[in-house]
Amino acid sequence: MAEPTWRWGAVAAGVAALMALPALAGALPARDSGRSAEELLAKVRASGTVGWSGYGESRGTLVLPDVRELSDLGDLVGGTTRVRAWWRGPREWRVNALSLVGETDTTRDRGGGWTWHSADRRALRLVGDLDVRLPAAADLLAPTLGRRLAGTEDVTVRRLPARRVAGMSAAGLRLVPRQPALTTVHRVDLWVEPDSGLPLQVEVRVPGHGGAEGGETDEGEIALQAGLLEVDLAPPAQERTRFSPPARAQVTRVDAPDLAAAADRFAPYVLPDELAGLPRRPRSALSVGGGVGTYGDGFTAVALVPLPEDLARSIIRRVDPGGNAEQAAVSTPLVSGLIGRDGRGRAFLAAGTVPPSTLSAALAQLRVTPPARRTR
């Protein structure tokens, strides 16, 4: 019986060699660049003009109720999103969110942007800029998300050991909020390409359930992560970031593509300068809207969105079918939302990366001092 043994041995050795390949590739050591945390942070903030193209994935663990009006938000923060991106600069990029059999592509140019839905061959043209809109796949790209999170001043920053991301040695950075009680974000870990400062991987952590909950030693739990799996650090060709609708596609021009953008453009209220103790964020000088308010610094961010009555009722019914149609709350470890009414019975949505008690305080403030109407 010597013969069968060597044959099976050969097959087993082949299988073992094949299975060891991924482990070997993953064990390649990462080289640390030796740059300081402050130097890296400055590079990350300036990395918007770094050209690159690549493939990435983002994954969220937040469960939102299935509300049609919030479009893809639930899938974005509660599942895995696969994207391909070509980036030439903040106003010249294309991000394709891939599904199994189709894709939703967003392109940005100097005049505005295009959104292409392959499933129903629909192209939406957006003219100009939007100050406020719902998050989209492009916002969860590791470089975009990392840059946005690194933009805040109200954090302490330190180095983490380097890690291999997308085949490169990436330097680690940890951002910890200075006022942890104000936000649900426990810490943000970034791994960046050390020469360009391009964030390659981002992990947003919330306080863990361990004994040291919220403390210095608490590593926290990942609520949202984004990373590039393949990246080419050369600016892509210009035609990669351009879009022109194909023949027989349905082309629509839109001013306000979602609920938040519509409220920002059309809501007629003067919102307070301070909400639940948080200051209102300044708006860009070119802003056309103003119906939505954003509040807080750094990781603490709250949006106050006035809702039309029918929309508010329809969302409340979906979130809380057995409730009283007056208010509804959604809470996840990272993001919470609360729909309620002001002193005159008008519906508002307050949502953000804050504890639910902050949102309750915000709506309590609106009940005491209801916003006045805007004069045009």
Binding site: P4, R7, G79, V101, G102, E103, D120, A123
Partner: protein, 267 residues
């Protein structure tokens, strides 16, 4: 020996009946679409089907997506599962091996015949789909999933690559069924074993909790042929799928060879 097996494949009515049935399903779908003019709501139903009403040249890809989840792998598993076990069940395996033919040689001949069947099946399905699609829906410049238009040459090349990719994916199934076919004397058991593996893989691919093992599942990259119709082609999953199937083919053919060349033939 190889010639004998190929001739046997072509002469068997079973070969042509199963391929005709494979081609009939997409044709039936096309006829219903053409008569009712109601495409599946975008985002539902098999890939590409909602775009087919506009452009019949896309129908080969849609037809592959229709037969890929179940029909095609079942047909391949049945044919490959029958390769050795069928001879054993008929009692002809011993007589085959009494002839001065090496066992490895016989296995290779069976393998090539199974490969020929697989390739024939995907070619006939897509060929019939092309004729049916362009006749019923007309043709135009093929749109890519990314909203660009592909030239006729590029579109043809991508469709051919999609057909080859699906064929290659099916060879993985064939290798598993062929291995099981050397283990048992029952062709039915071999085919069912391979199908059971595919069903298991299909369930795990859809399960987020099984993410750790997903890159190793045989069906994980099957639908990656859709990536050929993105612009530019997204090669990531296609390359992984091709490599993964190569590993399945190598491992299970190796196991089939190790088992069959040393097996006691009792029937």
């Amino acid at each position: 020996m190889i010639g004998v097996e190929l001739r046997k494949l072509v002469r068997r009515p079973r070969t042509w009946v199963s391929i005709a049935l494979l081609a009939a399903l997409p044709t039936l779908v096309a006829v219903f679409l053409a008569v009712s003019d109601v495409a599946p709501r975008p985002g539902t139903g098999p890939a590409f089907l909602s775009a087919v009403l506009d452009n019949g040249a896309l129908f080969p890809a849609a037809a592959l997506a229709i037969v890929l989840p179940l029909f095609l792998p079942v047909a391949v598993a049945v044919v490959a599962g029958d390769a050795i076990a069928g001879e054993a069940q008929d009692g002809t395996l011993r007589y085959l091996l009494i002839r001065p033919v090496g066992r490895t040689h016989l296995l290779v001949a069976k393998l090539i015949s199974v490969m020929a069947y697989t390739l024939l099946a995907v070619l006939v399905v897509s060929g019939v789909a092309y004729v049916v699609g362009t006749q019923l829906f007309g043709s135009g410049p093929l749109p890519s999933v990314s909203g660009t238009e592909l030239s006729t040459g590029a579109a043809t090349l991508r469709t051919v690559l999609a057909v080859l990719y699906v064929g290659w994916s099916m060879l993985g199934v064939a290798a598993v069924a062929l291995f099981l076919s050397t283990l048992t004397d029952s062709p039915l058991a071999a085919a069912l074993g391979a199908i059971a593996l595919l069903v298991t893989s299909g369930v795990l691919v859809a399960l987020e909790a099984a993410a750790v093992v997903q890159p190793y599942l045989p069906t994980r990259y099957w639908l990656a042929f859709v990536d050929l119709f993105r612009d530019p082609v997204l090669t990531r999953d296609l390359l992984r799928g091709t490599a993964l199937q190569a590993v399945y083919i190598a491992v299970f053919l190796g196991a089939a060879w190790a088992n069959f060349t040393t097996k006691d033939i009792t029937s």
